[in-house]
Symmetry: C2
Subunit: 211 residues, 2 copies
């Protein structure tokens, strides 16, 4: 499991470095992700980000023209990351269940703190009203991609008889909702809380769950 989710982490970081060539910009973004996730957009002060990145407050403005700008960029990257993860799973070798199993473990891996941070930021972008319009627009647009890649996997599993015959979109919504909820629980209570097995998480999807 850890080997596989390292692959996903690496994939994330590789895409990140390609999208953001400049090292200083990356340094600010990486630190801003964590602060935004923990304090929210309005609760985050430029000083917090700067301090965490090891810069002075004013220096941040050499890289970004505003706090909103940093946030929008992160929402953009996070939305891409979610879509790419599912696409990666869709293109794997294996049965539909194996693909979703792998994806689930990658999403919920307790060592992928970064993944939970991305998700909390996407959560703000989709539930908060105190968010720049462009961030809302981006997240609405890019949220489609995970669904577009997950639904074919679900349909394939239904054809092979592995998965229940409910509406595929409903199952996809359910899947991402459950992932979201469990991811938040991970953030709240950390590593050592009783946590369901991946098989248990996915039992809503399977015709004959093995448990």
């Amino acid at each position: 499991m850890s080997e596989q989710s390292e692959t996903l982490e690496k994939r994330f970081m590789k895409g990140f470095e390609e999208a953001i060539p400049d090292k200083g910009t990356r340094q600010i973004l990486l630190n801003a992700i964590e602060v935004f996730a923990k304090k929210g957009l309005a609760g985050t002060k430029i000083k917090d980000i700067a301090a965490k990145a090891g810069f002075s407050q004013g220096f941040v403005y050499n890289y970004f023209k505003s706090k909103d700008d940093i946030f929008i960029k992160i929402v953009d990257l996070a939305a891409d990351g979610a879509g790419n993860s599912v696409q990666y799973a869709a293109e794997m070798q294996g049965t539909p269940y194996e693909k979703i199993y792998w994806l689930t473990e990658a999403f919920l891996c307790p060592d992928s703190i970064a993944m939970q941070h991305w998700r909390l930021i996407m959560l703000q972008a989709t539930t908060s009203e105190a968010i720049p319009e462009e961030a809302v627009k981006i997240s609405k647009e890019k949220i489609k991609k995970p669904f577009e890649h997950l639904i074919p996997i679900i349909i394939e599993g239904q054809k092979s008889g592995e998965f229940v015959d409910a509406d595929a979109m409903t199952l996809a919504v359910t899947y991402f909702s459950i992932i979201q909820g469990l991811g938040i629980t991970r953030m709240q209570y950390g590593k050592n809380i009783p946590f369901p097995t991946t098989d248990m998480v996915l039992s809503f999807l399977r015709k004959n769950p093995s448990m």
Copy 2:
């Protein structure tokens, strides 16, 4: 379903009126709940709350001594509300599955916008670092009650053979995580998104799901 969840709503409001006898204080709190849920603590300005409640900005300070104070009070009420809901389900007549079925419908009822607002505020209280210490303390303390009331239901269902034989605490964590995730999805996409049936939501819990 709607009849039953009205009961839960009524229960919420009744407890609320008992806890907050003063009408003006309630008026501010009820409006603050919605604004805090949508904008977060830091993103909410006293002016927003005052405007929504139909007061001037300064007038709010006749009822509360600070913004943090309002937030802390709401966290306290929300945490109680969650615990009371599960307690109410535990004390119902019926099989364990019927109790959890009813609770799930009450939690996820698309007309209970208030319920989703409480949950978003509890989410802030448990994931954000930009939150008054007392709110954190209260939520940590009161989060135990829902578990204390849910676990006996689960164990009862396991004894009767309705539920799977996994660790009861793990099942409870899974249950609340799923509720949390689905509740957020409801907030994000509203009423008209494809949504799982309650039976589907609870299939992780049942030995022989009927679907």
